[in-house]
């Protein structure tokens, strides 16, 4: 039996595979965003250490 042709018009242009294959450009970060990300690096470094410590304590 012949399959009906798919109704591709239901997809928005930005949902199509060719659109999704295109990477989005890097965001231009403001001073505040850069400061926030710098703070985040410190927090991540600290919390990763803490996570390891908590995990070792939980395993004891």
């Amino acid at each position: 039996m012949k399959q009906p042709a798919p109704d591709l018009s239901a997809l928005e242009p930005a949902q199509r595979s060719d659109a999704l294959a295109t990477p989005l450009p890097r965001k231009h970060l403001s001073g505040w965003s850069l400061l926030l990300l710098a703070f985040l690096r410190v927090y991540v470094a600290f919390s990763v250490g803490l996570v390891i410590l908590a995990f070792i304590r939980a395993l004891r």
Binding site: A14, Q15, R16, L29, S47, V51, L59
Partner: protein, 451 residues
């Protein structure tokens, strides 16, 4: 070309299998909208929100709620759990909006907008956190099955098979409906709670007064506060819902139904979480010490005198369901997150051949977790609580990226965060970070005092 991708007027597009299947789903949604069938439209669009919320009522979460009920009874934690699910709604609504506005997954957006270092961090954080969590999901499956006398190896093997088979549908919509059907069994905790003959007056008083807190607000209290937050708001949920929204093909026009889907999921999950607290409240009333309990089977066995055989069996079945559904959603979130950063195919509509890396990541994490859980003599309750703590500590950076992305007007357009959304999200980030910091100080102090 727009920020969102290729020029739609370009004529060289060759539709892929994912395009065709997603378009078929979208065509059904469009018909429902044209025929003015709002309930059918909602049923078609619902899924990611309900799945993410019920998926988060997973093995460790249900154990945290059970421990909460057994340690503090019906009191502060009943309204607190409602608050945590309100927080979960606020956060998940943001990723829903980001998903429909950008048609990109969360990990992909972090990598492309903030650089590969942050994308890599998000990917590793997600994969490792999810792997540990998957171990605890199989602990829940094993523990629930143990209550019925099923050997651990058989339970873990059967659980693995169910999860793997669900991945083989090669169709997002089928996978979603199958997992939703299984997730409905999360509601088993509600009839189980009725077997505990809950005091409606005590629940109403707890809601009104946010108390009592027997034993005060010491270290154990803080640990459970943290564990219950970790049981409700976790990083994998952000990645899963945004990617599922994209995979399902939801658009800006579906935002209202998506919000209802998320709200219904949060409400159902909150009811189930409170039901688990109510289930184990008799253990608190009878001064049963749960500190040495190693999993759901211990709770189910301890509950038998108070809930009866049927109530305890429902509790054990609920634990199995909690572990299985979470294993499906969490392994899928790993597959989405890692594949998005690696820029390889990432859709449940892919064939096994096309989505080798995508399905492989999911299968490898499932297999590794199943193998780890069969290693004997692990301190299971400690590990499950620790997993929630890890999720809470790493939630702050994950939420920060949600906030940054939701405020990215280039991407979001009119769906970018307004003042109220920023205030709500900001308060949640500050709250979670503060509780995490307090916990950190507690841990460090304990460590210095040889605790």
């Amino acid at each position: 070309m727009s920020l969102h991708g290729a020029d739609p007027t370009a004529g060289d597009w060759i539709p892929t299998r994912v395009d065709v299947l997603r378009a078929a789903d979208r065509a059904r949604v469009r018909r429902a909208r044209e025929q003015h069938r709002p309930l059918w439209l909602l049923l078609l669009i619902a899924g990611p929100g309900i799945l993410v919320m019920l998926g988060e009522n997973d093995g460790p979460s249900m154990l945290s709620y059970a421990t909460t009920g057994a340690t503090y009874g019906i009191g502060f934690f009943v309204p607190f759990i409602l608050l945590t699910f309100l927080m979960a709604y606020v956060v998940q609504e943001s990723v829903l909006r980001i998903g429909v506005a950008t048609h990109r997954g969360h990990a992909e957006l972090i990598a492309s907008r903030f650089g590969i270092v942050w994308g890599g961090f998000a990917m590793l954080d997600l994969f490792i956190g999810n792997l540990l969590t998957l171990v605890t999901e199989f602990i829940a499956v094993r523990a629930g099955a143990a209550f019925f006398g099923v050997p651990a190896t058989l339970a873990v093997f059967a659980g693995t098979v169910v999860v793997v088979v669900s991945m083989m549908t090669r169709r997002y919509f089928t996978w979603e409906r199958a997992v939703m059907a299984l997730a409905a069994f999360n509601l088993l905790f509600v009839p189980a709670a009725l077997f505990a003959h809950p005091d409606a007056g005590a629940i109403a008083r707890a809601m009104a007064t946010w108390g009592p807190i027997p034993g005060g607000t010491g270290g154990g209290f803080l640990m459970l506060v943290l564990a219950d937050i970790g049981a409700t708001v976790t990083p994998w949920m952000l990645f899963f819902q945004q990617s599922a929204v994209v995979d399902k093909g939801l658009t800006r026009s579906d935002l209202r139904q998506g919000r209802i889907d998320t709200a219904v999921g949060a409400t159902l999950a909150a009811v189930v979480a409170i039901a688990a607290v109510v289930c184990t409240a008799p253990l608190f009333a009878h001064h049963v010490n749960v500190a040495s309990f190693s999993g759901g089977a211990d709770f189910a066995s301890a509950l038998r005198p108070y809930l009866g055989g049927s109530g305890a069996s429902l509790f054990a079945l609920g634990m199995i369901e909690a572990g299985l559904v979470a294993a499906m959603t969490i392994s899928t979130s790993s597959a989405y997150g890692v594949s998005e950063v690696l820029r390889v195919g990432h859709s449940l509509n892919l064939t096994l051949h096309q989505g080798g890396v995508f399905y492989g990541i999911s299968l490898v994490s499932i297999a590794a977790a199943a193998a780890i859980v069969l290693i004997p003599a692990a301190p299971l309750l400690a590990i499950t609580l620790a997993v929630n703590v890890i999720a809470t500590l790493l939630m702050a950076p994950a939420l920060m990226f949600v906030l940054l992305l939701a405020n990215d007007r280039e991407l979001m357009g009119e769906l970018a965060n307004g003042v109220r959304a920023n205030l709500a999200s900001g308060a949640i980030i500050v709250g979670i970070s503060l509780i995490g910091a307090i916990y950190a100080v507690t841990i460090v102090i304990q460590e210095f005092h040889g605790g």
